[in-house]
Symmetry: C2
Subunit: 242 residues, 2 copies
C-alpha cells in the first residue's frame, strides 16, 4: 500500500517531519501537496481529507497520513505510527515512550517558533501583528530558544549514542534536523549564537543530513525551501542584533 | 508500585489531565504538588524531577509521572502510558491511534487557551501583556473556540457511543471534561455561547462528572480549584461582551 500525505502546498511546515520519515525509509508515497489541483492535489487535497473524505474520524488539521483505510492526523501520532512500520522507532517500550516524549517536545518547540510571527493567532496576517511579533520574538530569542536548545543538548549528550534514542536513527532525529535547519533559516543571527552552545545537537543534525536517502532528498525537487508562508519564516526584524 | 505525579503546586494546569486518569482508575498515587516542601513536595519536587533526579532522560517540563524506574514527561505520552495500564485506552490499534490523536488536539486546544493570557510568552507576567492578551483572546473567542469546539462536537457525534472512542470511558474523555470545565471558568460568557452549539460535548462532559470516582474526586480536597495562576484563568476583560 502506498502512503498518502496530505499537507498545505508550497511550505515545508509540520508536514516536512512526515516527509523526512518517508524519505529516510525510502518508501513510495503520494504527496498531494505536490500534485496539481486537477489531480486532487494542492489545497483541494487538504479540503477533501479534512472534510468529505474524513468520515467519522476527522482530523482537525493537516498533516494527515492515509495508509489504506487508516487516516491519521497530528504529526506526533503519524510519526509514532510510521516509526514502527519504517524502522524509525525504538523497539523497547520505555525507549519508544522516550522517543515520543522528545518528539512531543520538539513539536512544542515548533509551536513556539510559529508563534514568534503569529503571537495573536494564525488566522491573522503577520502584517497585522508585527509589533507583538517583535516582543514575542525577543522573549523567544532571549529565554525560550536557549532553554529549549539547552534541553535538547542535554538529551543528545546523555543518549551516549549517535542518535537521540538507541543506536539507530529515529523519527525524532529527523525532526531535530528540521528544527535546526529551520532555526538557521528563520533566525540566522540568534540561531548561530544559540547553536554554538549546543554542539551535540549540531553534530546530530549534520549526521541526519548525511544519511544517503536524506542527502538525496535534500537536493531533489521534492524538498521544499523554507519561505515566509511556513512555520520557519525569516523576518530580519525578529532576529535581533548580531 | 505507587504512581508518583510531579507538577506545580496550587494550580490544576495540564497536571489535572493526569490526575483525572489516576482518580478515575481509583489507583493510589503520590501527588508531590500536594506534599509540603519538607517532604519533597511543592516546587522542590518539580525542581528535583527536572534536575537532579532526571538522569539521562530529563523531561523539559512537568507534569512528569514516575512509575518505579520509569520517568515520563509530556501529558499525551503520560496518558498513553497510563491508558494501557488503567483501562483508559482502547485496545484496538487504530482506536488507540485515534484516541491519541484526539488527546493531542485537546492539548493544542489547551495551548491556545493558555496563550490568550500569555500571547507574548509564559516567562512574562500577564500584567506585562494585557493589551496583546485582549487581542489574542478576541481571535480565540471569535475564530478558534468555535472551530475547536465544532471539531470536538463532530467527533463526539460521529463516535456513535457515550464516549469519544469505543464503548468505555478513556483518557481523552477525561481531558475533554477538564477543557469544558476550564472554558466555563475562564470565559463564562464566550463558553456559554460556544457550548450551546456543542450539545454532544456538553453531554459527554456531564457523563464524566457523573462517574463515581470522578464525582467523589471533584468534591474532595484533592481537586484544585481553577485560579489565575493556572492555564484556565478568568480575566473578565478577555471574555468579551455578553
Amino acid at each position: 500500500m502506498t502512503y498518502e500525505l496530505f499537507y498545505w502546498p508550497g511550505l515545508p511546515g509540520r508536514g516536512e517531519c512526515v516527509r523526512l520519515a518517508l524519505e529516510e525509509a525510502g518508501v513510495e508515497y503520494i504527496d498531494y501537496a505536490r500534485l496539481p489541483e486537477e489531480k486532487g492535489g494542492g489545497v483541494s487535497g487538504v479540503t477533501r481529507i479534512l472534510g468529505a473524505e474524513a468520515g467519522t474520524r476527522p482530523s482537525f488539521a493537516v498533516p494527515v497520513l492515509r495508509d489504506g483505510s487508516l487516516v491519521i492526523g497530528q504529526t506526533p501520532a503519524i510519526l509514532q505510527y510510521l516509526g514502527d512500520r519504517l524502522g524509525l522507532a525504538p523497539r523497547e517500550p520505555s525507549d519508544r515512550l522516550w522517543c515520543h516524549q522528545i518528539q512531543l517536545t520538539l513539536g512544542d518547540f515548533m509551536d513556539e517558533i510559529h508563534d514568534t510571527h503569529h503571537p495573536l493567532g494564525a488566522s491573522l496576517y503577520y502584517a497585522d501583528q508585527k509589533p507583538e511579533a517583535r516582543k514575542r520574538a525577543e522573549v523567544f530569542r532571549e529565554v525560550r530558544l536557549p532553554k529549549l536548545l539547552g534541553w535538547l543538548e542535554r538529551v543528545a549528550v546523555a543518549s551516549g549514542s549517535h542518535w537521540l534514542v538507541g543506536d539507530r536513527v529515529g523519527y525524532a532525529d529527523l525532526t531535530l534536523f528540521q528544527c535546526v535547519e529551520g532555526l538557521k533559516y528563520a533566525f540566522p543571527k540568534a540561531a548561530r549564537r544559540a547553536l554554538a552552545e549546543a554542539p551535540a545537537v549540531v553534530t546530530l543534525a549534520a549526521r541526519v543530513a548525511e544519511r544517503p536517502n536524506i542527502a538525496a532528498y535534500l537536493v531533489s525537487d521534492r524538498r521544499l525551501a523554507f519561505n515566509e508562508d511556513g512555520l520557519f519564516r525569516h523576518y530580519p526584524e525578529l532576529d535581533g542584533e548580531a
